[in-house]
Amino acid sequence: MPQPRWLPYLLIAPSVAFLAAFFLVPLGQTILLSFDGGQGFSLANYARMAGDLNFPTALRNTFALVIVVIPLQVALALVMGLMLQKMTRGRELVLWIWTIPLGVSDLAAGLVWLAILQDSGYLNTLLFQFGLISGPTAYLNSETPIALFFAVVLAEVWRATAIVLIILVAGIQLIPKEFGEAADIFGASPWTKFRKITLPLLKPSLQSALILRTVLAFEVFAVVYALGGRNFPIIVGEAYTWQNENQNYGVAAAYAVLVMAISLAATVIYLKALRVDPEAQA
């Protein structure tokens, strides 16, 4: 029986309607709210956001986190993925263990690392027992911004490297093993093989992983709040503060729009930078 031409549209209509109602409409409302100064269009919310004492720090902290965390995660995930590929036995088990953090909510992950790193945490207990410190030492307050930063980096790497890993493992599995064997036969060193064969063929997966991970990294919130509270201002944290503590929805909306603009810009940059010529695809 021939299908009516409108059938596919009918079938996707519910999901389109759902996204429109619960995503596009709030998005539009947020944008409008951010430009609403009380009497029509105004940039007052943005001016207030940019003039806030925490704004430059939040911006700097968020970007610093992204710049340190993302390359670290991609490099780690690449190494882990290639190691998995070399394994003959126990691959599934190792992959499964590596991806456990994915099942932990980000707030819980933050609390786990808080339990380890706080004054009376596991790390200090251990260092104290070995006689390396004389008493509780703080790493997570405003006097130790660098230690706090690396604590957040550590927790983020622990928590979210696995999503990059999974995408890259899927990509690596798509590369026929004959490519590597041909490279071996024709004399490519392991490093050359990685650079000239594996990496270029992994570009589509890398692109997906980078976009997904970067967008989420700009939205980092719960881990930072668990570890540092407001000692480590970040963009989404500021939006939260303006929304809930200051009850100023307009400035909170301006922050939300800012995060969206940054995420969009990052996505566009990745799409351009890692563009794969459709002709040069497998």
Binding site: P176, A183, D184, I185, G187, L201, A280, A282
Partner: protein, 348 residues
């Protein structure tokens, strides 16, 4: 240019034996086909020669040099894969140049060698394109050009034509033969397709169950198979086998008597095109079940006694199903097989 010596190479995967002590000598410039059904160990043997797989015991010598412990790239060989393994993210030029670049060849030499290999395989016009734009046959040409561009001492080919459609396979087969003749490269070619092996190889090594069962020229393999397996695997239609009993040095089959090497139960082997049709009384009785006109010939399938036989008759022959004919055989074009061992009696 180099010959290859494979000395008692064996391979086990866990408890499974893939190869049992294979020895094989390939002369400089020779084209040897490893022919056998899937799982016979032919690809494993090729991969051991390439260095992609490590043998459990034995050694591989290429051109006087023991390469058993060397990396693939140090063995002086090139390989063509079944699925081409042409890099999709490089142009045809860069694919063909890959081996040269890895060996650190200068740009002038790369250019010259790529042009030469591309001319040999008729892919000059595609050098600037990406493989995705090429057909399967063209990609396989690229893979062969990439292998020949490094002027390897030894070329290994793993079922290079099996992903191509029938017509293209025929065309590429003829072309491969002339190209490799011209290049004079020692070649080992793995295939399960006996027509490919027959058409291309100087010698065929028929493999079965991790052994080389017979290694000889295509014509000898075809007309004097060493075992029942070889006779049944090589040739289309396969060789016919008729169970009989010999007494006093001869076997009587209907109207014909053939001298046999031993007395007792024995199997007569003959090719379908070596049987001449006569009348039922004066030949070996053959009851036709199916007659298939193939264009170039008429293929008759039927029985001699209880054994299935396929006879190739001239296309002009008018024979239908149900007829009983006689078959006359040339005593020099038959073999005798021991039913116990499945081996051919020597000299028969």
């Amino acid at each position: 240019m180099a010959g290859i010596l494979i000395d008692k190479v064996a391979k086990q995967f866990g408890n499974a034996v893939a190869l049992q002590e294979i020895s094989l000598t390939v002369a400089d410039g020779e084209f040897v086909a490893l022919l056998g059904p899937s799982g016979c160990g032919k690809t494993t043997l090729l991969r051991i020669i390439a260095g992609l797989e490590v043998q459990s015991s034995g050694k591989v010598v290429i051109g006087e040099r023991d390469v058993s412990a060397l990396k693939p790239s140090e063995r002086g060989l090139a390989m063509v894969f079944q699925n081409y393994a042409v890099f999709p993210h490089m142009t045809v030029f860069e694919n063909v140049a890959f081996g040269l670049r890895m060996k650190g060849a200068g740009q002038a030499r790369v250019e010259a060698q790529v042009r030469k290999a591309a001319a040999l395989l008729h892919i000059e016009e595609y050098l600037g394109r990406y493989p995705a734009k090429l057909s399967g046959g063209q990609r396989q040409r690229v893979a062969v050009a990439r292998a020949l561009a490094v002027e390897p001492a030894v070329l290994l080919m793993d079922e290079p034509l099996s992903n191509l459609d029938a017509l293209l396979r025929l065309e590429m087969r003829a072309e491969l033969r002339s190209v490799l003749r011209e290049a004079g490269t020692t070649t080992i070619y793995v295939t399960h397709d006996q027509t490919e092996a027959m058409g291309l190889a100087d010698r065929i090594a028929v493999m079965h169950g991790g052994h080389i069962v017979q290694i000889d020229t295509p014509t000898t393999i075809y007309s004097k198979p060493a075992t029942r397996f070889v006779g049944g695997f090589v040739g289309s239609p396969p060789m016919n086998f008729v169970n009989t009993t010999a007494t006093a040095g001869s076997a009587r089959l209907g109207g014909i008597t053939l001298a046999s090497p031993v007395d007792g139960p024995i199997i007569l082997g003959f090719r379908g095109e070596d049987a001449r049709l006569t009348d039922a009384a004066s030949g070996m009785p053959f009851k036709v079940k199916v007659a298939e006109p193939m264009g170039s010939h008429l293929l008759l399938t039927g029985h001699v006694g209880d054994d299935l036989a396929r006879i190739v008759a001239p296309s002009s022959t008018r024979i239908g199903a149900g007829a009983t004919l006689g078959l006359a055989l040339d005593p020099t074009r038959i073999i005798w097989i021991d039913p116990q061992t499945g081996r051919t009696h020597p000299g028969a």
